[in-house]
Amino acid sequence: MAPPITRHKVRDLDVRMMRAGAGAPLLFLHSAGGLPVWTPFFDKLAAQYDVIIPEHPGFGDTATPDWIRNIGDMAMYYLDFLDGLGIGKVHLVGHSLGGWTAAELATRNCTQILDLTLIAPAGLRVKGAPSGDNFIWSAEESVRNMFHNQKIAEAILAMTPSDEDNDRALANRFMAARLGWEPRWLNPALARWLHRISVPTQVIWGANDKLLPSVYADAWKAGVPDVRVEIIPECGHAVTADKGDACAATILSFLARS
């Protein structure tokens, strides 16, 4: 069951958060799709960890501060966020845009993180393997292209979103464009600084990702010093929903490694 929304303040920004479970803190940075629906995937993490999922600035109901204009600002913002939360070192997990943000944070400062889990992260590319264009896809394509399991896509398409849902989706789209439109879902400088990620890192990818091809995992493997890569078969970009059980198990076994 989804935990109630709590609040956290970073500078002048009032941030919405979901928080559930007990144990070592696990900070989950969501994708460009916005604050995720609480699925069994999150229950599995919350059974062992204190799971914290903040809504990114500009997403959903959280305001867009004018001091966040690019992914570098996002990384610095989450360093502020962790300082303010005062919960010590966290397991940092990020999906897609959230994975990119987590990696940018880690190249700047690893003192507040125990380890890094990147699920189909944006931020790097492999030339010759173009990413999909989620900004030009129709609403239906955008849903279908996220999942290998089309039954999930069909269930989502069968739902009628409320006006509130539509407003949040539009806010998500605006902030996603601000951070990822150009260059599309990447920071050319990031690849030059991956060696600064000094914590154990796991990269998880869906083998059938239509947004960011799974071959991009090679770029992370080449640059991050202590990294292992897990490719989940029959899985699209929305890894935590498409193959929630496998994704949770992969994360939990990595976090329990020591």
Binding site: I136, S138, L170, R173, F174, A177, R178, W181, E182
Partner: protein, 379 residues
């Protein structure tokens, strides 16, 4: 009244069946559908048609900028303007307009316009736009920063024309240690500036500002909306504490004149339907990339569009709404007179070639308009 002859320079030989296999005539339409031999003829035709307008007594002729589309094959309108300068002597030449946010160096826009103004001995009119949403897909420019970039590039260009250089420009998107525009514009302090718009309230306020007083040119809108936007601009001037001149008000509209209303519709009906049904339509993901408009206006537009559905507009609909002026000379005169009476508009930008309209019909249209409509509004 000030009359401008204008064409979008559509690629008329477009294979419409192939076009409708794609979601748009923009961004994704394969350029294999462009035939360079036919295309070369198109350039010659459109340039000749525009040049003809000088002999017919038009005050100005106009070109504009669009990228990666069959809708208009003028990604570099200054090249056409340069050709027009060589083929004309008297007529003003308007570039309506350059899409400022799409470029990473607005100084090139300042320099090129200054060159054209010298080459034409002061016949240029400058227009500034943001480009349409699709062009943020085809140029990669981040639509979220479209407004910021527009305003900054505008400030830079106007300063480059009017301040003595070299000076330093300190912006967020544009930074230059040395701004020193050689040549300076021929017209001093600068060429006139027109702002083509679809009526956003931010643009109205910005263009009407006493420091600017730019001509506000409403494009592609129904009689009702043209009236509303021009009135909004006039009211904004009053709010700023000055009276709006008719020369600050412009209306850009497709026009076709023939002997009778029926004949006009028969000759131009299909062509106007191709403009609005084949060349122009875009899915909203392409037309309204995130941030291109404010969130509130995007919500309004999306609601409007979903309620309208995806109806292909017919010539009758376009004529009835006043989006296109198609009819006898008497009918067209009357519609223009009514708009003048309602709004005081004094600049009419006539699109006398549109969609697939042939050279032959365009010439007849231009002749009729020049001989039977224009004189009525010239004192």
């Amino acid at each position: 009244m000030h009359f401008t002859g204008f064409t979008l320079m559509p690629y008329r030989p477009l294979d419409m069946e192939a076009r409708h296999k794609e979601r748009s005539a923009w961004v994704v339409l394969p350029n294999s559908l462009y035939d360079p031999v036919k295309g070369a003829d198109e350039y010659e035709s459109h340039i000749s048609l525009l040049t003809r307008a000088e002999d017919l007594g038009f005050d100005a002729i106009a070109v504009n900028e669009h990228h990666q589309t069959a809708y208009g094959i003028m990604p570099a309108p200054n090249l056409i303007a340069s050709a027009l300068i060589q083929r004309t002597k008297r007529v003003k030449i308007a570039v309506l307009g350059r899409a400022l946010p799409l470029t990473n160096n607005p100084l090139f826009i300042a320099e090129e316009m200054a060159m054209l103004d010298n080459m034409s001995r002061g016949r240029m009119i400058a227009g500034f736009v943001r480009g349409i949403g699709t062009e943020y897909h085809s140029t990669g420019t981040n639509p979220v920063f479209s407004h910021e970039r527009f305003h900054e590039a505008h400030d830079l260009i106007v300063q480059a024309w009017t301040r003595s250089g070299p000076f330093e420009f300190e912006g967020e998107h544009y930074n230059f240690k040395y701004v020193n525009c050689w040549p300076r514009p021929y017209q001093q302090p600068r060429p006139p500036i027109w702002i083509p718009s679809q009526g956003s309230s931010e643009t109205v306020k910005w263009a009407a500002d006493p420091s600017r007083k730019y001509q506000f040119l409403v494009t592609f809108s129904s009689t009702e909306l043209v009236t509303r936007y021009l009135t909004a601009y006039r009211n904004q001037c009053t709010e700023f504490g000055y009276e709006c001149s008719g020369d600050q008000l412009g209306w850009a509209v497709p026009v076709y004149v023939a002997d009778t209303d029926e004949k006009a519709k028969e000759e131009a009906g299909k062509a106007i339907e191709t403009l609005f049904g084949d060349y122009l339509p875009n899915p909203w993901e392409m037309l309204l990339p995130p941030g291109y408009t404010s969130m509130s206006s995007m919500k309004q537009t999306m609601k409007l569009r979903s309620s309208l559905g995806k109806v292909r507009p017919t010539a009758d609909m376009l004529i009835a709404s006043g989006t296109a002026l198609i009819g006898s000379a008497k009918t067209v005169r009357q519609k223009i007179s009514e708009m003048v009476d309602r709004t005081g508009v004094n600049s009419l930008v006539t699109m006398l070639q549109f969609g697939t309209l042939s050279d032959e019909l365009t010439k007849r249209n231009m002749d009729m308009f020049a001989s039977e409509v224009m004189p009525h509004f010239k004192k």
